[in-house]
Symmetry: C2
Subunit: 345 residues, 2 copies
């Protein structure tokens, strides 16, 4: 592929911007009119023809304007991804909202999903931060009835998991409290991975609990991400490309199914470190249902300690200049919040 001349490059960016704004194939005449270029339509046509040849643009039909190809969007994104910034006022407004809520992970997630959806006019998704290398802080055993007990497990960082267990035989609350106290002394600060290895031979009940804690932890750790929050699903219904076709249904359905969503989000795990953005354009995501869509993904949190994923889905024609800096900014904000939370321990 030949390199783009400076003029071709500028032209391509303008064309894509114009298409993103208008949602309609852009032709040489309009382009010159609206963007006061110092060139004649004929020249533009020649360049457009070249860009089409190179695979950045295509024509929906002979003698219609040009529309960006996936390739074109990719070029566009690669050009602006590192320079797009969110206006300072918007940054402040968002920060403000976060610092006004209760310092509670669930609130943060809801707010982040809402902000992303609202700013980008797309569908947003975010997973709660998952603590990697979680450390044990505290366990509580509460007798409910007979052989059933409620186990409340607190990890360093404040993550709480609760589970209803059924023991082999009834145990008194007193006995349970003793066991919990003993376990707490034994396990505090330990990595959750190693807990099952801590054997003390002293007590069958204790041993059982130990095993159950380990099982519970592994069970939740298996799923790549924790709870998934979404917002703004209906936003994408407003896009003209989804006006009548059932393309929209399929894309939204994907977003409703948490299993596929997890798969999608899992893609960021390996490919990008915290701070790096990933933009999946059209077919890149590998999902047939997302052929017409793009997804902007980012990881947030503190690598190696606690991370989560967030993203925005929109039509391939989404406003990348708006979405990308928003995703980046929110990811950074959440990283700071998670960092503060961890540091305070």
């Amino acid at each position: 592929m030949t390199d783009l001349s400076e003029r071709q490059k500028n032209l391509l960016l303008i064309i894509i911007r114009a298409y993103i704004d208008s949602a309609q194939p852009v032709g040489s005449k309009r382009l010159v009119d609206h963007y006061h270029l110092d060139l004649s339509p004929a020249t533009i046509r020649n360049e457009m023809s070249a860009l089409t040849e190179m695979g950045f643009l295509r024509q929906p039909h002979t003698s219609a304007g040009r529309v960006p190809t996936e390739e074109g969007y990719r070029y566009f994104v690669s050009q602006m991804i590192n320079q797009a910034k969110l206006p300072a006022s918007v940054q402040q407004a968002i920060s403000h909202q976060f610092h006004e809520t209760t310092p509670d992970v669930e609130q943060w997630m809801h707010l982040a999903a809402s902000v992303l959806a609202h700013q980008s006019q797309g569908a947003s998704v975010i997973t709660a931060p998952r603590v990697e290398k979680a450390r044990f802080q505290h366990v509580e055993l509460i007798s409910t009835q007979g052989r059933q007990i409620l186990m409340v497990l607190v990890m360093v960082g404040g993550e709480v998991s609760q589970q209803l267990l059924t023991l082999a035989e009834p145990v008194s609350q007193e006995r349970l409290s003793q066991t919990a106290t003993h376990l707490n002394g034994l396990l505090t600060g330990r990595l959750m991975d190693e807990i099952e290895g801590v054997s003390n031979h002293s007590d069958a009940l204790e041993q059982d609990i130990l095993t159950l804690i380990g099982q519970d932890y592994r069970r939740t750790a298996e799923s790549v991400s924790g709870t998934i929050y979404t917002d703004g699903l209906t936003n994408v219904l407003y896009e003209p490309e989804f006006a009548d076709s059932d393309e929209a249904r399929r894309a939204l359905r994907l977003f409703e199914e948490r299993s596929t969503l997890q798969d999608l989000l899992a893609r960021t795990t390996g490919n990008s470190s915290v701070g790096g953005l990933q933009v999946l354009i059209g077919g890149e995501s590998g999902w047939e249902a997302l052929r017409q869509c793009s997804v902007v993904l980012a990881r947030y949190g503190v690598p190696g300690l606690a991370t989560g994923t967030l993203g925005v889905l929109g039509p391939m024609r989404m406003s990348y200049t708006r979405t990308i800096p928003t995703v980046r900014f929110v990811a950074g904000l959440l990283s700071d919040l998670v960092n503060d939370k961890i540091a305070s321990e």
Copy 2:
């Protein structure tokens, strides 16, 4: 309004069924052909004309078939609401799914939402059961850093709430544990409402915690319903009435906004006891955005102890014969589960 003759009544039910199946205005000819009635089209026309006069049917335009009015649907529902049953095989299949999951409220909610959406081909919504007159079971205070502590509060029934508190001054974990133990002795089994009244004058820290517990409880109790789970939002996009119009967007948007959803669900609180179904047809719901929709709602749980709400949203043309018994059955199932859970204490 004159009473309906037996024949008119049957005819009306058949017409509505036909319209629900076909999504198209039903005319006299088709009706006779497909439902082998022993009458001529002309007779049917006369009766249809009468039913239209009475307000049960209407014509989209002169010389089109008839379409049910809200009134018509209401009559239809009132006729079948008490007799529609879910096939035993389906009941078994659903029960089976519930008894296979872990006995965990969150799992139940997800499953219920999924089953409702799938069976009814509509959008489902369900709130976690809220414990009314909650009783204190256990509190745990865990020191995190300096003045921040994590409070884990367990209510009778296993509902757990956690909150990060900031104290006036740092307190040792030992001191916290003592306080927690003392509070547990003092409060176990008490109604949450009364907790703040329990005054012991012995200890400033203890008094503080007491107040915070009370505050936390009242804060969560304020919201009419707990977490809201939804599923099958995209199902309604498949309905022909929502093919292109933005009617669908508005209805779905409503479903995305949890605040409005809460309002909607709150309607069942007063009007219907557990076990009773409520069917809101068209404008009945009061929401402009739901003018074209119907909602089937039910409460489940144990009245006075723990109840929640579930419902299904679909087009006014939804399959009531399928949705109503499904909602009723799932509500019953969840009531049993909640009941079992409470009884086991």
